[in-house]
């Protein structure tokens, strides 16, 4: 590649600045979680772990945390089943409307969150469906399908159909072929997709506010506590937890998919 020396230095500098821009704000929230004074004045006055024990004692925060975990698990399971089914239908069959369906799968995340949120909340209120954990799960599952689908379809396109045909030729029936041939090759892609779905659901707030009614997920708890001065240290701790619980699954997911990719090329 024939780029000039000056261009290279400039690129390096720009890259470093953008990375700093991306990481410094996150670092600051993490630092505040250990800040001795209970305010958000900079610089922090000292190191303490006191807010972590306070967070553990806060029943509202705990409740919100478990609600979020439940919603994320529910949404992930639904997204996993639906995303897997539809990726098989798209990759292994020809049918009318196949191209449009991949557009519809993408729509819930391509459209502004407020549109999805409004659509679901208007529908629930028109049908008199009470808002709660179940409606949150419905909303989350809708935009999580695409994450599972994308991972699964990428894998299915790389694995040759001939394995499945060979399996059928050797006498395996449809379910055995899925259990022993298709599923094992899909497993890690599905797992990666599920982790992403979990992380997205755990973190989502825009659609959640519209579908939660009185239920508080962790992001809703954080959102409602922003303006309460006495909650500031707890918000910082909850923020640290929220960062970790979305980043760790995603880290594992990227490791899985990159291994899968490098293992195949």
């Amino acid at each position: 590649m024939n780029s000039g020396r000056a261009a290279r230095v400039g690129l390096r500098l720009a890259t470093a600045l953008v990375l700093a821009f991306v990481y410094l704000p996150l670092t600051i929230v993490v630092l505040y979680a250990f800040n001795k004074s209970g305010t958000n004045a900079w610089p922090p006055s000292g190191f303490t772990l006191e807010w972590f024990s306070a967070a553990l004692d806060n029943s509202g925060l705990q409740q919100a945390f478990f609600t979020s975990v439940m919603c994320a698990i529910g949404a992930t399971i639904i997204a996993l089943v639906l995303g897997c089914l539809i990726s098989l239908a798209v990759s292994r069959y020809q049918w009318f409307g196949r191209d449009s369906i991949s557009f519809v799968i993408l729509l819930p995340i391509a459209l502004p969150g407020i549109v999805t949120g409004m659509a679901l909340s208007t529908t629930f209120s028109s049908l008199s469906v009470p808002l709660g954990i179940l409606t949150v799960i419905v909303g989350h599952a809708t935009f999580c399908i695409v994450l599972v689908y994308n991972n699964a379809i990428a894998r299915l396109r790389r694995t040759a159909r001939s394995y499945e045909e060979a399996s059928a030729d050797l006498g395996a029936h449809v379910f055995q072929t899925f259990r022993y041939v298709t599923f094992p090759s899909l497993r890690s892609a599905l797992f990666a997709g599920a982790l992403l779905a979990f992380a997205l659901s755990f973190d989502e707030v825009i659609v959640t506010i519209f579908t939660a009614g009185g239920v508080k997920t962790l992001p809703i708890w954080i959102f409602q506590s922003f303006r309460l001065a006495n909650q500031v240290p707890l918000v910082n701790v909850a923020g640290l937890v929220a960062i970790l619980l979305s980043v760790i699954p995603v880290y594992i997911a990227t490791r899985i998919s990159s291994e899968a990719v490098s293992g195949r090329t």
Binding site: M1, N2, S3, G4, A7, R8, L11, A14, T15, V18, F21, V22, Y23, P25, L26, I28, V29, Y32, N40, W42, L82, L85, I86, L88, Y93, W95, I101, V104, L106, A110, L111, P112, G113, V115, M118, A119, T122, T123, S126, T142, I145, H173, V174, F175, Q176, L196, A199, D203, E204, V205, I206, P219, F226, G239, A242, I243, S246, V247, V250, T254
Partner: protein
Amino acid sequence: MAGMPAAPAVPAPRPSVARRVSAWMHAHPRFRLGLLLLLPLLWLVVIYLGSLGVLFLNAFWSRDPFTSLVVREFTLDNFKTLLTTDVYRTVTIRTVTMALLVTLTCIILAYPIAYYMARVASPRVRGIMVVAVVMPLWASYLIKAYSWRLILADEGVIDWLLKPLGLSTPGYGDLAVWIVFVYLWLPYMILPIFAGLERIPSSLLEASADLGGKGWMTFRRVIFPLTIPAIAAGSIFTFSLTLGDYIVPGLVSTTQFIGNVIFVNVAQNLPLAAAYSLVPLAIMLIYLFIVRRFGAFDAL
């Protein structure tokens, strides 16, 4: 083999239920396809597209001012209100301008780092950087927005840094909203551009060099045009996410964007809120239609 005793005639085992069902399914691929599609289509078409339809219907209903109940009779009043009231027009223009500005800023910031990752960095560094860019994408959205509330606060980091220079923090406002949106959506732009750059075969660059293209010329005439679909793909997210966000403006400004107006109206006048949420929907559909022509969907 003549000496071998003839194998006793064993009746073929009765095929199991699974095998018989499977044999039938094998012969009927349409049925298999239907089974695969039943649940996903039920969910995506009935629940999701269905609720978009309900939203659409609600936009043509009205609210009884005395009982506050939704009157289910067709009317265009909501759209008349939206078109004739200055506030709605101003808010729409403000939001679209912000979305375009954020998208443009994201392209400018994302391109150099994506280029570095794809074409300069060693494979090991590239791998690390991909993870480094993906991680913050997923780190809690709310906390990322909140971190800027802390940074821009009166006693925040920026104020502390600028105080010795006799300056103070820009504080909350439109500038803050712009910074936070760019911050939040930047990885959505970096990743597709990176993927787009990585896909360009080196032979094209060599060909350009052989034909006398200098570094800048090759970039302008070969590399950049080839990454336009990737930029368009990334812009779907930066544009759409800005268009519908009501959390960030509430956190770091007092300015109203489309999302805030819809959000406030949900409790007061649901049909009007529904009508107004068709505005970002329509803008987004037009936007998707445009970027599709640039090949955005192939680069997603």
